[in-house]
């Protein structure tokens, strides 16, 4: 397969996954902002989220205050914000457009139709139906895109690079979702918080990664920060966990292996086995935020290496 084609497939998948996870992060933060306990004080919550998404500066250049409306419109519609859902869906479609001949027509049409609808959406329409309905729509378009990918694409290299993009992005994004929540909420540090508030915080986090029911099923017990972290980091049977994402990254990577990708495969395998054999208590000892930041650095490094090994056109 052409290196350029693989590059477009990889980024098409990453942007779709990013759009979905951005919708998830916005959804959970928006829901928390509506909780009565949070009262008027929603701004620090939005500021924290933007910080972890590394969009704080871009936001502040345009908006003086972190109001819900300003942040949501910035994260959904802003054409100058590279992290907005608008930009993610446009990039998904542009990458798909560049390789539409490699995609099944159903996959291309899915991505094109998603973009056409996003393009026609206005803030007025968003607020009319409520942001929740929009986040739901983004998630379902992503589900559809993934389903069409798996249901129609030949299981060849093209599919591997799509999957690689999806899971590398998801690994990064799930780590960010965890960071957003743990930012002001390290276990045991917030003694004043009411039990009820705690419960809502954790259940909202779980819901944002479609893990609420999963948690109940796996632990059959109270929601505790430690277990939430364990579920989303170490449980390989949880589809959006870091462990699952890395398992997929590693296995897809080994299937596209070429003459110069050995070191990249080794690094991915190393990260995957850390997660496979890790213990959550040990991660908390190291420091949760450090752990997640280090994880994201490694994911970033893997992305660069995949580019160099496969995607950047090279002669040799």
């Amino acid at each position: 397969m052409l290196s350029r084609t693989a590059d477009h497939l990889f980024w098409m998948a990453r942007y779709m996954e990013r759009a979905e996870n951005t919708a998830r992060i916005l959804d959970v933060t928006y829901r928390l902002s509506l909780l009565p306990q949070n009262g008027e004080d929603v701004e620090p919550m939005w500021a924290g989220m933007l910080k972890i998404m590394e969009l704080q500066d871009t936001f502040l250049a345009k908006h003086p205050r972190h109001t819900t409306e300003a942040v949501l419109e910035f994260m959904i519609f802003d054409r100058d914000n590279p992290g907005s859902i608008y930009r993610c869906l446009r990039a998904t479609r542009e990458n798909a457009h560049a390789v539409r001949g490699t995609l099944t027509s159903e996959l291309w049409e899915t991505s094109n139709a998603t973009w056409l609808k996003m393009r026609d959406l206005t803030p007025a329409k968003l607020w009319e139906n409520g942001p929740g309905a929009f986040f739901e729509w983004v998630k379902y378009r992503s589900h559809l895109s993934r389903g069409v990918t798996i249901g129609t694409m030949l299981q060849d290299e093209a599919l591997r690079f799509i999957r690689l993009g999806t899971f590398l992005e998801r690994a990064d994004n799930t780590a960010r979702i965890l960071e957003v929540k743990y930012l002001n909420l390290l276990p045991g540090t917030d003694e004043d918080a009411t039990q009820a508030n705690d419960y809502y915080q954790w259940s909202a986090l779980l819901q944002s990664v479609s893990a609420f029911e999963v948690y109940r099923k796996v632990y059959r017990d109270q929601i505790t920060p430690l277990r939430v972290a364990e579920l989303l980091i170490l449980r390989a049977d949880m589809p959006r966990s870091l462990a699952r994402s890395m398992k997929e990254v590693y296995s897809n990577l080994t299937r596209v292996s070429n003459a110069r990708s050995a070191e990249t495969e080794r690094l991915a395998g190393e990260l995957e086995s850390h997660l496979r054999f890790g213990r959550i208590e040990r991660i908390f000892e190291v420091g949760f935020r450090n752990y997640l930041e280090d994880f994201r650095d490694r994911i970033f490094d893997l992305g660069c290496r995949i580019s160099e090994d496969f995607l950047i056109p090279a002669r040799a």
């Binding site: 052409l2 084609t5 693989a6 539409r100 001949g101 049409e109 094109n112 070429n258 056109p313 002669r315």
Partner: protein, 472 residues
């Protein structure tokens, strides 16, 4: 307006429906208007979702538009098509022979049938191709010949497109759309299929691979996703199951072309390139080309890769060469031309220029090297001011122009804002030449949607129709 009588494809002069349209006309009469309206809206939505669009130059970058699609097909009876097909095959065969001759012995020039200057000083003549042998001596593997029908029902060839003719994807998509929207029509008519075109194209491309290559690798080369015909490039690559490459994906080493893949370099044998000659190789042609492949011409001249179409085919489809095509047919094939050429005045000749200047309101004046319906004057459809301003261009640069009588392009009922009205159309059949000449029945019908307009180009607001050749 000088022209009053047009040939209507559907109805005869006495108002009766022509026999090959009888079935369709009956269906149209019986089908409730609201159903047709729904289907038209559905077609629009589907074209949008499929992304069957073309990019428009001169508008905000990345602007994509739909080419309007009309649901009333252009129907051609089998007998008429037979004559057209024979004429097209004959014409393309002569044109390919002409190009080979020009880049080798130039016998037609020596025989004095065409002034040598007209060919050798033509900007489209590529000295780099002189003496170069190409597989099967075929240069224009894909030709899109524009044909129109005039007042008395006779066909004329308007233009031979031998460089990178486009539009075949719309021919295929229009058929797919019609079958999806109105399957009952295909049950009632014996419409000749066109769906095998990509197979024929791949067969043609493989047949002209460099000598000695057993299992040639074919690719389609596009200028990129922002090119106006990108949809078609991607479509054809996908339908043939070959890679769609850009210049940056290819490189040349030891006169061999390779593409950069995730598994390292892979050899390429045949390039169906949708990039103009000028941009193919920055080492040989335009230095500023970002979409070409350095060294490609050298590999090509060494016979290590086939370019399709060949470099330098423009010398045969240039408007200044067009008047000589009937002569080529006589010279190379010893046959009389089956299809008519439009009488053409070459403004470089003083007497032709004088005639043209005296008859501007009746004539169509075209730039010799123009394409896409730009830079032309349609006399009968122009205002006095437009004619006078064009006259100045013409007087300043007569060599740049030819003129032709304004043909009374046939028309066909078409859906417009206020119902159904006749609109002018042309036809672009595609002729494939490799070890053999092949065609699918029909071609792309383009229709000028503006009332009275004779310009069918999509860049000028033209639409398309499905083209049916009825099997006898």
């Amino acid at each position: 307006m000088a022209i009053t009588k047009f040939f209507n494809e559907m109805t005869a002069d006495d108002g009766s429906v022509r026999s090959h349209y009888a079935g369709y006309a009956k269906w149209l009469n019986e089908t409730p208007a609201d159903r047709i309206e729904r289907k038209r809206a559905e077609a629009d939505a589907l074209f949008h979702r499929y992304g069957i669009t073309f990019a428009v130059y001169g508008e905000e970058s990345g602007t994509e538009r739909l080419i309007p699609f009309d649901i009333i097909p252009r129907i051609i009876p089998a007998k008429e098509w037979k004559g057209l097909e024979a004429g097209l095959r004959q014409r393309v065969k002569a044109l390919n022979t002409f190009i080979h001759d020009i880049y080798h012995d130039q016998e037609i020039l020596k025989a004095g049938h065409i002034p040598a200057d007209q060919v050798l000083k033509n900007a489209q003549y590529r000295p780099e191709m002189q003496g170069v042998n190409v597989p099967c001596d075929i240069y224009a593997h894909i030709a899109g010949v524009d044909v129109v029908r005039a007042g008395a029902g006779e066909f004329y060839v308007l233009e031979d497109n031998l460089r990178v003719p486009s539009g075949v994807s719309y021919m295929l998509e229009d058929r797919r759309m019609m079958m999806r929207l109105f399957p009952e029509l295909f049950a009632r008519h014996r419409v000749a299929p066109v769906e095998h075109y990509p197979d024929m194209l791949l067969h043609t491309l493989r047949s002209v691979a460099p000598v000695g290559v057993a299992d040639p690798t074919v690719v389609v080369m596009t200028p990129g996703a922002y090119n106006s015909a990108y949809f078609e490039h991607a479509f054809l690559a996908q339908q043939m199951g070959v890679e769609l490459v850009e210049g940056q994906d290819l490189f040349v080493e030891d006169d061999q072309v390779f593409m950069r893949t995730t598994q390292g370099p892979r050899r390429v044998d045949v390039i169906y390139r949708r990039v103009d000659d000028d941009f193919l190789d920055p080492q040989a042609f335009r230095k500023d080309s970002m979409i070409g492949v350095p060294g490609l011409l050298k590999a090509y001249r060494a016979g290590r890769v086939t370019l399709s179409n060949a470099i330098g085919t423009g010398v045969a489809d240039d408007k200044s060469i067009y008047p000589y095509v009937p002569e080529m047919i006589r010279f190379y094939l010893g046959e009389e031309p089956i299809l008519n050429n439009v009488p053409t005045y070459m403004c470089r000749k003083p007497e032709d220029l004088a005639y043209t200047l005296a008859h501007l309101p009746e004539l169509v004046v075209k730039e010799v090297h123009g394409a896409g319906g730009y830079g032309m004057l349609v006399g009968p459809a122009s205002t006095k001011e437009q004619i006078e301003s064009f006259r100045k261009h013409l007087e300043a640069n007569p060599d740049k122009y030819i003129s032709q009588p304004t043909l009374a392009l046939s028309n066909c009922p078409t859906f417009v804002e206020n119902g159904i009205a006749p609109r002018h159309l042309d036809l672009r059949p595609f002729v494939l030449s490799g070890t053999e000449i092949q065609m699918v029945p029909g071609g792309l019908t383009r229709v000028a949607l503006r009332e009275g307009s004779l310009v069918v180009n999509s860049s000028q607001g033209g639409g398309t129709k499905d083209t049916w050749v009825l099997e006898a």
